[in-house]
């Protein structure tokens, strides 16, 4: 008797992999890449993020972080002032002074990111040169890197991509002959630990994470590095790793029981793990995940959902909701569509899903009003106005800040979508 091997992918086709994409160019309601600092500064615990920008950048960061950060955060802004705009030499001296003051005040910082912003990009303040200069000055104590989180270059999660890509350039070379696995993307520690346990049980290893929790523990990279993207928005980071010889393992993203299975399976295959051992090892967690999402399925099946572009998580999440919870995606908007990294995901989306890239917010809201989905996933600026129009919303930011990856978060992820509908049903006001 042949063992009952469950299909790793639900039956595809006809999916969205070659569907036309609505490309829009208008007002976008997306955070800029600076916002990634809010969780990156919690993830890399001895790193500090210094935005070189305007008062707007500082205001953005505190508005986005205002409810989350109570202690003095590990980020700050060097606010460019009128006199800095007068001459570039002066601007560099000013930056050095600010960095000196910061490092004197926070000597425990091991890794300092100088983060470029719209104004610093426009005035062509070369932060890479500043980082090199300051790295020499503070050598042995604090390493100084730079990346851009500007709104003219990056949307929301692309800031994390730029940050990780900057780290890749600085990783040690791995010349060992044995293959190693790298999990790429800032995951909550609890999720990271779950994955590390599963890989250990599977016999996949050694396994590293990028970013590491401490600046001194960043993984090495080389031709025998195999990497799994944990997030769909890491195009630049993937390219930087490939430039250093590493190989990307193509997989669904680890959302839901199926996505997580596929993602782990890609690694198991690359490391020559026996198929039956793989299935036996993941079976308990996979079953647990399926049980955990079952009760949300009752509420969500058949419900129509629209994603407005926010984090680039939209397509994998829509796939999870469609294939595992029976939801009907109406429109799935993403700020940027990486077709190659998302090929498996797109293939699993129902063919009648409208995929849109970029945004013209007023037109998109017109479509939302016309189609009236049961649930609209959107940014914080739009949620309350849509609620006031009688549309139920899920604010997208929680999907970026909460643990949602892997088997043991599948139930929580489903619940994030079920809760707004349940709330709508229980309220009598």
């Amino acid at each position: 008797m042949t063992p009952a091997v469950p299909a790793l992918l639900p039956l595809p086709l006809p999916g969205c992999e070659s569907a036309p994409v609505l490309r829009e160019r208008g007002q976008r309601e997306v955070f800029c890449g600076l916002t990634g600092i809010i969780w990156l500064h919690r993830k890399i615990q001895d790193a500090f993020f210094l935005v070189v920008g305007s008062r707007t950048c500082a205001h953005l960061l505190q508005s986005a972080a205002g409810v989350m950060v109570f202690a003095e955060p590990r980020f700050a802004t060097a606010i460019i002032e009128e006199r800095d705009l007068a001459g570039m030499a002066d601007c560099n001296e000013e930056l050095d002074r600010v960095v000196d003051r910061l490092l004197a005040r926070r000597p425990e910082i091991k890794l300092l990111f100088l983060v470029g912003s719209c104004p610093s990009e426009v005035i062509k303040l070369e932060l890479s040169r500043a980082a090199a200069r300051l790295s020499v000055k503070h050598a042995g104590i604090t390493k100084i890197l730079n990346y851009s989180g500007s709104g003219i270059e990056t949307t929301f999660t692309e800031g994390e991509d730029a940050c990780l890509a900057a780290l890749v350039a600085d990783l040690d070379s791995d010349t060992r002959a044995a293959p190693s696995l790298m999990i790429v993307g800032a995951l909550p520690d609890v999720v990271e630990d779950q994955f590390l346990r599963l890989f250990a049980e599977l016999g996949v290893g050694p396994v590293h994470c990028l970013p590491a929790r401490h600046a001194g523990d960043m993984p090495p990279v080389g031709p025998n590095t195999r990497f799994l993207l944990a997030q769909p928005f890491l195009g630049e980071t993937a390219r930087a790793l490939e430039d250093r010889g590493a190989t990307r393992l193509d997989a669904l993203f680890p959302f839901g029981a199926e996505g997580t299975t596929h993602w782990l399976h890609a690694a198991a295959q690359a490391f020559g793990i026996d198929e039956l051992h793989f299935r036996g090892t993941i079976a308990p967690a996979r079953e647990r995940a399926k049980r955990a999402i079952a009760h949300s399925r009752e509420r969500l099946a058949g419900k129509r959902i629209t994603f407005l572009p926010d984090s680039q998580l939209e397509i994998p999440l829509a796939r999870f909701l469609a294939t595992e919870l029976g939801m009907q995606p109406v429109e799935v908007g993403t700020p940027y569509l990486h077709r190659r990294h998302l090929a498996h995901e797109l293939a699993l989306l129902p063919a009648d899903t409208l995929i849109s890239e970029g945004q013209d917010v007023d037109r998109q809201l017109d479509r939302v009003r016309a189609t009236r989905p049961d649930l609209t996933v959107c940014g914080l600026g739009l949620a309350n106005p849509l609620e006031a129009e009688g549309l139920t919303t899920k604010w997208a930011i929680e999907l970026v800040f909460s643990p949602i990856h892997g088997f043991d978060q599948a139930g929580d992820l489903a619940e994030l979508f079920a809760r707004p509908l349940r709330r709508r049903d229980v309220l009598r006001v």
């Binding site: 208008g26 070189v52 008062r55 950048c57 505190q62 508005s63 060097a78 600010v98 709104g151 600026g381």
Partner: protein, 530 residues
């Protein structure tokens, strides 16, 4: 460059958004990169507005720079007019667009839009949010006011006033307007126009038809009001009615300007509870509580007066973050004999609070962060604020009801009346012990065993570690306390322990004592006894 952890004010275009969002029939086209759209959530999430702010951002990207951004601006402006059909438009640039020098003003003029267009020049690298709001309101008033409008002859009609200054995202502005409108009604005065909050361009056109102006929020309305004084000869009521006495003074000033009789108002029992609540014996414990005040100049100055005169506190620190009103603040600080603190540097404010060890902080959301870390009771009196500072209930700061609100919200964070004495009398009872914390702190916030103002060595050590050394380190540091004295210090209730520690260390320093003994502790107590 200025190193900034938290900032008190946003950029000036956020001030302009506060005006546009407050009004009806206005649309603002802001030349800005995509990240700047975050500002929408200030209104929809923090203030819980049910509508998006009437702002179109051009959201240009790097690839647009150089050739396309001007066309982008014009397309966005044309589309915004077609979609929203506003009575008037604002156009301007955010900090990044200012650098690429597209000249929104010139472009908008060339477009010949069929409505008045106000081009805003808001220098982002010099100015901040309140200035941007004031300038925007002034430009709107100047452009839209019908200069021929004049008040109708009195002929027995009630006098009419404009209420100027309230905006979107203001600290309790909506409730203040309701409260002051009611108060004016009892004075026999009608409100002709509230602006910018709720006003349309058509309403603004009639601004000259009021008999006089009431300037509720000088930070926002002062520039416009000065222009109105010059242009229409309207008188201005400038007393800000925050607190019982200020409200009485406000009533008197309005009555004088309007020519009505305000003599009896506010004196009948029940108009305001504050005077009696403050005199009631339970409030005895408020006497001389040391309070540190920081916020926008108007709210901070008003808070100092209420704190000293109406609640019996001692003002030990007074400051504001808006330099435009520095002179007013310095004048006020002189009244209380304290060093004025005019700064927009959060770290400086933190150092001041740490050095002064007050028993209560009246500040902004930023001081709430500081007070929380130092475990000092805190109430918010001014923007910038948090979503919880937009309460569902009616909660004005101005007028007689506002005075009641101040009493409640400032006294609430302090240990309540008799409870404070019970803590002393029954300190060995587990329900009243330090370890249980005070009931107003939720009962479940265990307090560290010793240290500063309700804070212990752990808290203080952590605070020192992240913020650098305090301004004035204790004379000999913690190590100079003898174990015996240290134990005795623990017997002092936590809410006065910080003051006792500070006074003792100062006493020791002044008397060149290297070790603080039991005697030093009680010598200091006697020395500072009032």
């Amino acid at each position: 460059m200025q190193l900034t952890v938290w900032t008190y004010e946003g950029p000036p275009h956020v001030g302009a958004m506060r005006i546009a969002t407050a009004m009806e029939g206005v649309h603002y086209v802001l030349h800005a990169p995509q990240g700047d759209t975050y500002a929408d959530l200030l209104f929809t999430m923090i203030e819980r507005r049910s509508k998006r702010p009437p702002v179109t951002f051009t959201t240009f990207q790097a690839r647009d720079l150089g050739k396309d951004t001007a066309a982008l601006f014009q397309t966005a402006t044309r589309d915004a007019y077609a979609r929203f059909e506003p009575q008037a438009m604002l156009v301007g640039a955010s900090c990044t667009a200012e650098l690429i020098q597209d000249d929104p003003a010139g472009m908008a003029q060339a477009m010949g839009l069929p409505c008045p267009v106000v081009a805003l020049e808001l220098p982002s690298y010099q100015r901040k949010e309140n200035w941007g709001a004031a300038e925007t309101f002034y430009q709107l008033v100047r452009t839209l006011a019908d200069k021929t409008a004049r008040p109708a002859p009195r002929d027995g009609r009630r006098p009419r006033a404009n209420l100027l200054g309230p905006t979107a995202l203001g600290f309790r502005h909506r409730d203040d307007v309701i409260e002051i409108t009611r108060l004016l009604d009892t004075l026999g005065v009608d409100v002709h126009l509230v602006a910018p909050l709720g006003a349309s361009p058509a309403d603004l056109a009639t601004i000259g038809a009021a008999d006089f102006n009431i300037l509720l929020y000088p930070e926002i309305g002062d520039t416009a009001v000065r222009w109105l004084e010059r242009t229409f000869g309207q008188a201005t009521v400038r007393t800000v009615p925050i607190g019982y006495a200020a409200t009485r003074a406000f009533v008197a000033e309005v009555a004088a300007v309007a020519g009505t009789d305000g003599a009896g108002i506010g004196t009948t029992p029940g108009t305001s509870n504050l005077p009696w609540w403050s005199r009631s014996v339970d409030s005895t414990y408020l006497t001389g509580k040391r309070v540190f005040i920081f916020g926008d100049a108007t709210h901070a100055i008003a808070a100092a007066r209420v704190a000293r005169d109406e609640l019996g506190f001692e003002v030990v620190g007074l400051g504001c973050y808006n330099r435009e009103f520095a002179r007013d603040l310095r004048t006020a600080a002189a009244l209380y004999g304290v060093e004025p603190l005019v700064t927009d540097d959060y770290l400086v404010v933190e150092e001041a609070i740490q050095a002064l060890q007050p028993e209560l902080v009246l500040g902004t959301q930023m001081e709430r962060h500081i007070a929380k870390r130092l475990r000092i009771p805190c109430a918010v009196i001014s923007a910038p604020v948090h979503v919880q500072d937009f309460p569902a209930r009616y909660s004005p700061q101005m007028g007689f009801e506002g005075a009641n609100v101040l009493f409640d919200t400032w006294v609430h964070p302090l240990v309540m009346g008799l409870e404070e004495h019970l803590l002393t009398m029954f300190r060995d009872d587990f329900e009243f012990s330090d370890a249980s914390g005070a009931s107003h702190l939720g009962g479940s916030s265990p307090l560290p065993p010793a240290g500063g103002v309700g804070g212990g060595p752990v808290e203080l050590a952590a605070a020192t570690e992240v913020t650098g050394p305090p301004l004035a380190p204790p004379a000999g540091g913690r190590g100079t306390w003898s174990p015996e004295a240290e134990r005795e210090l623990l017997k002092i209730p936590f809410f006065v322990r910080g003051k006792a520690r500070r006074n003792t260390e100062r006493f020791a320093s002044e008397h060149n004592l290297t070790t603080i003994t039991l005697d030093t502790l009680y010598d200091a107590k006697a020395h500072y006894a009032r």
